[in-house]
């Protein structure tokens, strides 16, 4: 590093070593790259030219089979069927506009639509990879296309797997559906490629990671004309996991038929395992339309249908629980050391300030103790007792029972419902809690809202040592305990026994059967405040009609099942939800010995199932 500095002259001279350094580096650059280009282009040029012209290597994805979904007895709920698609390799296609026009005439898809999609996708698919131009081509068309395809270089027919749901509507809300991954999903997950299908709803979405599998990779050598010369598997594909559900197709079908045309939900749960055996919501939709070609029109029809078929009413809709709530209240009264033998005399109404709170039985029930209040669903008993325990206790106790929070079922968009309280009301309305509201809450009205599934989980917990289980949809999963009911054994036994009595002599009589031990509780939830008088449901328009509830358990031959039925705007709990529950138990335990069930909607027959006129408007 000899440095020379230009002393003595007025012109500056940079250090000679520095100038040499720059010269040296420039020469190095030249020599290095000339040698490298010589190595690549002259020494190995022919080799590379051959590689370029004759053997062009392409990487092809091998699609992994998506896991299938089965019911508890191994019958298919979601399967894969082959579907034919047309794909275009741009690099091999000499005349793309003409090819697209031909595809349009084969498939009947309009040319502008085809061009628009092609242009949009072209940016995302490399020119040497197949770009999908048409999907779901019927088999007859495929054979016609195959005869002419040699005239259209670059165009290939491929088979892909398409998702098919054999039971469509029956399981649509549980299975959900798959569809092409969206722009956003492609960006979020680098393992996805354009045209991949992924779960969008239901179990297909929640279990996506288990169902999807891992794609494999083929290395394909292709000649100038795009003919495949040689194919090697670089990575084998890994199929997705097959999943067995706890649901039973037969039972699901029976429950769905029992519900008939009504909007509502049926939940069948096994208390000791937490497994769901049926989960029905009405009305439903055919999830197969999402996997084929869902048109904008189809979607608008579904989304704007006034009956909201996309809504899973078992978990995504919340309703006031009505008198079913009295079971929870009874648990609280016992906890607060209220003597179950102590009673209230029901005169059909209670006055609080200037308001009058009425019992559903306007004539009054007379003397009611706690068990009788459940059997006859006496509102006045709860009005009285609720004033003693107060809203804070109700809020704490109901929350501990699992209300106001999700059950944790493996389905998306579950709602939590609401247990109202002082704080909530302050936040929501900036108003303080009124005493009368406590009375409304005590009979499951007012702001209280629950999902049918929450109810089923609560009833199951009563029968399963107080364990609040996560409702299970997948068969081979161990039960997950999410909490404990705040009720010791004597309290739970009291409520279970009261339900048994209700099903034998009370408002839930309709579900009784001689061959099984049954318990139940009805509920009729008001949709709108009716003012001074409670009106018979049949006098009201559909939208203003009450929601009908029935929660039940049944034991036969050592098997126990919880059934919860909620009929939206169904009217009376006993008259509308009761027969549905009875039918579900017919499917579970076999037809009840003795008299056949009355057909839906017909007048009640005489005998054990007969319900007097007073009960017709019951709770």
């Amino acid at each position: 590093m000899a440095i020379e500095i230009g002393f003595g002259t007025d012109k500056y001279h940079p250090p000679r070593s520095g100038i040499y350094l720059l010269f040296g580096l420039t020469s190095f650059l030249f020599v290095l790259f000339v040698l490298r280009f010589w190595y690549l282009q002259i020494l190995h040029g022919e080799e590379y030219a051959q590689k370029a012209h004759a053997n062009r290597t392409r990487l092809e994805r091998i699609y992994a089979t998506r896991g299938i979904i089965l019911d508890a007895k191994g019958r298919l709920l979601a399967e894969n069927r082959p579907a034919y698609i047309l794909a275009l390799i741009r690099e091999d296609c000499p005349d793309i506009p003409a090819t697209l026009a031909q595809v349009s005439s084969w498939t009947g898809i309009s040319l502008p639509a085809l061009q628009a999609k092609f242009r949009q996708d072209a940016a995302r698919v490399k020119s040497f990879q197949p770009q999908i131009v048409a999907t779901d081509i019927p088999f007859e068309k495929v054979s016609e296309i195959e005869q002419q395809i040699f005239m259209w270089p670059g165009l290939i027919v491929e088979t892909r797997q398409r998702r098919f749901y054999p039971h469509g509507e029956l399981f649509a809300h549980i299975i959900g559906y798959v569809a092409d991954a969206s722009e956003k999903e492609l960006r979020a997950d680098e393992k996805l490629a354009l045209g991949d299908i992924i779960g969008k709803q239901g179990l297909e979405l929640v279990l996506e990671d288990r169902l999807r599998g891992t794609k494999g990779l083929n290395s394909v050598d292709v000649d100038v004309l795009g003919r495949q010369l040689n194919k090697r598997q670089v990575d084998p594909p890994l199929a997705g996991e097959n999943i067995i559900l706890s649901l039973d197709i037969d039972l699901q079908k029976a429950a769905s038929e029992a519900l008939g045309e009504e909007a509502g939900a049926v939940v069948v749960m096994e208390p000791d395992s937490g497994k769901l055996r049926a989960l029905v919501t009405h009305p439903s939709y055919d999830n197969n339309i999402f996997t084929t070609t869902l048109s904008r029109e189809d979607w608008t029809n579904l989304a704007q249908d006034p009956r909201h078929p996309l809504q899973n009413r078992a978990i995504q809709s919340v309703y006031p629980p009505g008198s079913v709530w009295k079971l929870i209240m009874a648990g609280l009264f016992l906890e607060q050391k209220i003597d179950p033998r102590a009673g209230v005399t029901c005169h059909g109404e209670v006055h609080l300030g200037s308001h009058t709170f009425r019992c559903w039985n306007r004539g009054g029930h007379g003397f009611m103790n706690m068990q009788q209040s459940i059997i006859n669903s006496c509102d006045v008993y709860y009005y009285e007792m609720a004033q003693r325990v107060g809203i804070d206790n109700i809020e704490r106790f109901a929350t501990a029972c699992g209300f106001g929070s999700v059950t944790g079922i493996d389905l998306p968009h579950e709602r939590a419902g609401l247990v109202p309280g002082r704080e909530w009301k302050k936040k929501r309305f900036r108003e303080s809690w009124q005493g009368g509201e406590t009375l409304n809450v005590s009979i499951g009205q007012g702001y209280t809202s629950v999902t049918p599934l929450q109810m089923a989980v609560f009833i199951s917990a009563l029968l399963n040592d107080g364990k609040i289980l996560k409702p299970g949809l997948v068969e081979n999963e161990d039960p997950v305990v999410r909490g404990m009911l705040p009720m010791p054994l004597p309290h739970r036994s009291f409520i279970v026994e009261a339900m048994r009595a209700t099903a034998s002599v009370g408002t839930a009589r309709r579900i009784s059967r001689p061959d099984a031990v049954m318990g139940g509780k009805t509920g009729t939830a008001q949709v709108v405040r009716m003012g001074e008088r409670r009106v018979k449901s049949s006098e009201l328009s559909y939208k203003h009609r009450d929601h009908a509830w029935m929660t039940a358990w049944g034991m036969k031959d050592g098997k126990t099942y919880t059934v919860v039925v909620m009929v939206e705007h169904g009217g009376g709990g006993s008259s509308t939800a009761g027969p549905v529950v009875a039918r579900v138990y017919d499917a579970l335990f076999g037809p009840a010995p003795g008299q056949p069930r009355p057909a839906r909607g017909s007048a009640p027959q005489g005998g054990a199932n007969a319900v007097g006129p007073a009960q017709e408007l019951n709770d």
């Binding site: 012109k11 500056y12 100038i19 010269f23 790259f33 000339v34 990487l59 020119s127």
Partner: protein
């Protein structure tokens, strides 16, 4: 002094301007070829060559503008300019735009500014200023002072993260320091210490950066990504052979590197179409271009101008070395563009500004005699 003197005009380094023009138009033609072929109606990608012409015209304006003033003013401005660059770099983590997982851009209304580009110019200016204060080769103390100051922008760019620009900045300043000279004992110690420090740098790298280096060493590690590019780039270049396939006749490079063929892999397109002979001519043009800058560095009238020229030299030298090195498979894949051949707005304009500085220095090399 600010008025344009006829003598200033004649003293300008016209050879450099000539080589630049040649390289720029080769670049535009190459872009035309890269974007024009086999793209049917409706799916042709944006005509990059047209936009590049616009950038070139803008760059030319900036180049002319950067010859109007006496470059010696830059000496006093270099420190505030450096502070501005550091300030912009500090803004990036706060309000920067995230692109491909890295925060490198500032959105200022009508266009996006890359503060690391500003930092390159600032480092060259400040480096020239600091180095020109010493007549003798650097001692330890002086060396560490300069490196310490440069560590600020380097660190800020490294955490963006942008490894390519960080290394470019280090190499740039290193080149300028070597050009100025360091004491023999300093040089010797550095020669021994460097290889020992390199492995430590490995641990500062992010996983994807390590992956790139490993992929360079073994392209089969990542067949679909960088490894695929390296393999296909070599096939494209190699298949050009001696004469090349001719303008717009390339098949490999055009179809394979759709995402990068107009930016980082532009020279692969050129090599395939123009062959070995074309490559020699292109390399010769680049080398003459560099030598023109060396010429101005040698004839500059003061030390500041001379070192500034050396800075510009290294600015271009490293980009050419790293980019072509990457495309021919001699270096890992890092996103460094090739001056004048790669498409890009900011880089084209900065390139022309850098040249403007050299032309500025060449114009005023006899100034002190005249005034």
């Amino acid at each position: 002094m600010l008025a344009i003197d006829r003598r200033l005009f004649t003293h300008a380094n016209w050879t450099l301007v000539g080589f630049t023009a040649a390289l720029f138009f080769i670049g535009v033609a190459n872009l035309y070829s890269a974007s024009g072929v086999r793209y049917e109606d409706g799916i042709s990608i944006a005509p990059f060559y047209q936009k590049q012409l616009v950038w070139g015209a803008t760059g030319l304006g900036c180049m002319v503008a950067s010859t109007f003033f006496d470059y010696r003013h830059l000496r006093t401005m270099s420190f505030p300019f450096f502070l501005l660059a550091v300030f912009l770099l500090l803004l990036v983590p706060a309000i920067g735009k995230t692109v491909y997982g890295a925060k490198r851009w500032l959105d200022i209304g009508f266009f996006s500014l890359q503060p690391s580009e500003v930092a390159k110019v600032a480092t060259i200016l400040l480096g020239a200023n600091l180095l020109s204060r010493h007549k003798e080769p650097l001692r330890w103390r002086e060396l560490f002072f300069i490196l310490g100051i440069a560590a600020i922008p380097c660190g800020l760019i490294f955490i963006q993260p942008d490894l390519g620009t960080t290394l470019l900045l280090i190499f740039l300043l290193g080149g300028m320091i070597l050009f100025h000279g360091i004491k023999k004992y300093v040089f010797r110690t550095c020669c021994i210490a460097m290889p020992l420090l390199l492995p430590l740098g490995w641990f500062a790298l992010k996983d994807y950066q390590k992956e790139r280096i490993l992929t360079f060493l073994d392209p089969s590690r990542d067949l679909q990504g960088a490894g695929y590019h390296i393999t296909q780039s070599q096939i494209a270049i190699g298949s050009g052979e001696l004469w090349g396939k001719g303008f717009q006749e390339g098949t490999q490079s055009l179809l394979r590197f759709l995402p990068e063929k107009h930016t980082d892999f532009a020279v692969a397109v050129f090599s395939e179409e123009w062959g070995f002979l074309g490559c020699i001519i292109l390399l010769a043009l680049f080398c003459f271009f560099l030598l023109c800058i060396v010429d101005t560095a040698r004839s500059a009238k003061d030390q500041f101008g001379s070192i500034l020229c050396a800075g510009v030299f290294f600015y271009f030298f490293w980009q050419i070395l790293i980019n072509i090195g990457m495309v021919v498979g001699l270096m890992p894949v890092v996103g460094v563009p090739l001056p004048f051949l790669s498409y890009g707005g900011t880089s084209t304009i900065v390139n022309f500004i850098m040249l403007g500085l050299v032309v500025n220095i060449s114009m005023r090399r006899f100034m002190f005699k005249m005034n």
